[in-house]
Symmetry: C2
Subunit: 160 residues, 2 copies
């Protein structure tokens, strides 16, 4: 059985016991989280979020890419969130390569891609918080904070 | 107490009982999921994924944006995933506005932004699966499938 088949089998069991049909489309909490795709990060679990509680945006690194900004603007301006947590993490895969290495590995089609690698997770967290704060599409009262998640301990540390 | 303070308090309890220090940085399963930021979607829960099991990419709509493609390429080419599930969902916030409406609401700074709204979630799922399949940076043997998650039942339906 491949991983998709396993996931679909698990979903049947989830749906059989699902009882959150009334969760509203606007989040219960005014919270949007930006974090990495890393398989060790289960943000709803490590932040204590229930079904319907908060938006979660995820990309490689948890970077404030143009697309993450699009998602956060929609979250804040259309769906009312006002607190944004940027969460990078220890042992991130984005620390393990450079744009040059990725482009060499992937060939000509990758020439113009910025893979957004990271050299220091506290620095990247600070950068991405600054990018979101400076974006003119965000509401003026959006509170943006930066955190690092430790994959060895499950604990968040404040960065900014 | 604001939502961030509540999340940090919940994280302390999570870290106190955390026992996944040995989860590897490469996912246990060769699976990468692309889905929406919606607060009602807990993909690890509805797919039965444990800590360390699979990458999860999330943006507004679960769209195959350039940044989602960046994340999936890194997941597949650098971290070895070979199955990709694109999961859109019923009652998506992206069904509720147009680019024109969002630009009018947000003013001149939004003029050039494509918010990637959706008019039909099965159609958008098919489109985004096709975009990932056609991307020259993906491995040839990446299996991409498309699904719709029903927020009223917790159940996934196959689209493509």
């Amino acid at each position: 059985m491949n991983s998709v088949d396993q996931a679909i089998e698990a979903n049947r069991a989830y749906a059989d016991r699902f009882d959150m049909a009334d969760a509203p489309s606007r989040p219960n909490k005014p919270l949007v989280v930006l974090t990495c795709i890393d398989a060790r990060l289960h943000p709803e679990a490590f932040l204590g979020l229930g079904v319907g509680d908060a938006h979660v945006v995820r990309n490689a690194g948890g970077r404030a890419s143009d697309d993450a900004l699009r998602s956060i603007v929609i979250s804040a301006q259309i769906l009312g969130t006002r607190e944004c947590m940027v969460i990078h993490h220890t042992d991130c895969g984005m620390l393990t390569f450079t744009n040059e290495a990725a482009r060499e590995m992937l060939g000509p089609a990758a020439t113009d891609v910025d893979f957004m690698p990271i050299t220091d997770v506290e620095e990247s967290t600070r950068e991405d918080v600054a990018t979101i704060r400076a974006n003119p599409l965000m509401p003026d009262d959006l509170a943006v904070s930066g955190w690092v998640y430790d994959v060895k301990t499950g604990r968040l540390s404040s960065v900014v």
